[in-house]
Symmetry: C2
Subunit: 225 residues, 2 copies
DNA sequence: CACCGATTCAAGCAACCGCTTGAATCATAC
DNA sequence: GTATGATTCAAGCGGTTGCTTGAATCGGTG
């Protein structure tokens, strides 16, 4: 009930976050985390229970506020949009901007966190895959549904597929950020890359679904747009 | 100089390939490979020398013919193309079709191999990253250069960036192929997914670079296209 | 002060890891 | 048949892994 006399849990989370971001999950041993955090060797299992639980805690701390803001922005967009749906650029920015904002707010830790989140897509352990799916399902579904609504003749399934590619590109940018440049607070470069990526993805997302339109909809009186 | 009396090396490669594709590299121990291949425990180090060398051999066996065909197709396209460069769809198909062809030729092993190649992008060990870069540098450079040439006002740097996203999408499709459907030779579905992905990426790739055009080229007399 | 739950500590367990060793076994050449 | 080089075999090496243990130490409470 009282304050812990030391910030052991916090230090473990921070150290694990850095090491996971740099080396990946499998390559990071709990002993390395313990050494980096300068805590006792049993502290991780006392505070978290297992390596898997630590991994979940590390990712959960960062992805939760990002996804919350994503959904809030989307809701705001949908509320102020007309019947034609949300503009695609705004949709993409609502998806990406919370990441940039988090990175900037965290200062020095920004690049580390941003790179960590990039790993949420590529890392292997089944537990993390399940975690990623649990955290992204709602966001992915809401965003791809909004994309399908804003494009005439785009099925929800294909919008979902395309948003997977957007997500893959985002993860690629995030994980290969610190790879190229070593200076941490270089967010101008990151922002430019995301801007170019949005320009690239936008036009593709606005294409109607091809196969379904031509083959399965002979009686379509689409007149809008 | 003579034929080996047993196909130990082959069996090791096949078993390692399957396990790497299913579980990833870090999660696959040499002992698991040994057990799956049913060979002696020292066979891997006798035939390959180390786990790292085995990983390289496993990936090299598959990626080399794919990239060779990619380059051959690209060369053929460039030879028969006019001054306006290669059509973007053909470029994308030249990049992707060798993968599909390999998967079909290998029959039952196709999905395994195809999933393995998807891991070439996401797996962690530095040695594999270096291997992937070594194998992909020429292909990536040649294809993104061809893309830049076929689009008016597209810089080579931005074409390279965009092709990274294409590559990320390809890897995503490959690694999540067997994830969804369990029936191995379901290539119609894979082919459809790639077709939709090409339709999606094509229009984005054909966009000119924005920032450079507007800010840095006041004396540009672009009249072509 | 005595007490108690929460936290820290030093030490170590069993299991697994990649890799090595030295002898046995094989196919071939002479 | 015997020598030779390539391959297979059973066993085990040192090191690392995630995790556990039982006692020591702390802060707050009666």
């Amino acid at each position: 009930m009282s304050l812990p006399r030391s910030n052991t849990k916090q230090r473990i989370l921070d150290s694990a976050e850095s090491l996971f971001a740099q080396q990946g999950l499998a390559a990071t041993s709990l002993r390395a985390v313990i050494a980096a955090a300068d805590v006792n060797s049993a502290a991780i299992h006392y505070h978290f229970g297992s390596k898997e639980a630590l991994v979940e805690a590390v990712f959960e701390r960062r992805i939760e506020p990002v996804n919350r803001e994503r959904l809030a922005r989307l809701q705001h967009l949908e509320a102020s949009a007309g019947d034609s749906g949300v503009a695609m650029v705004e949709l993409l920015e609502a998806f990406i901007h919370p990441l940039l904002k988090l990175g900037q707010e965290l200062g020095d830790r920004g690049p580390v966190v941003v790179r960590l989140l990039g790993r949420l897509r590529s890392e292997e352990p089944d537990s993390l895959i399940a975690l990623a799916q649990a955290h992204m399902r709602e966001v992915h579904g809401r965003f791809s549904r909004a994309a399908a609504q804003s494009v005439e003749g785009l099925t929800q399934e294909e919008a979902s597929e395309r948003f997977e590619y957007v997500h893959a590109a985002v993860a690629w940018i995030l994980t290969h950020l610190a790879h190229a440049s070593e200076k941490p607070p270089e967010y101008v470069e990151l922002q430019d890359r995301f801007q170019r990526m949005i320009n690239f993805m936008e036009v593709g997302l606005q294409q109607p679904s091809r196969i379904r339109m031509e083959n399965l909809r002979p009686n379509d009186n689409g007149a809008a747009r």
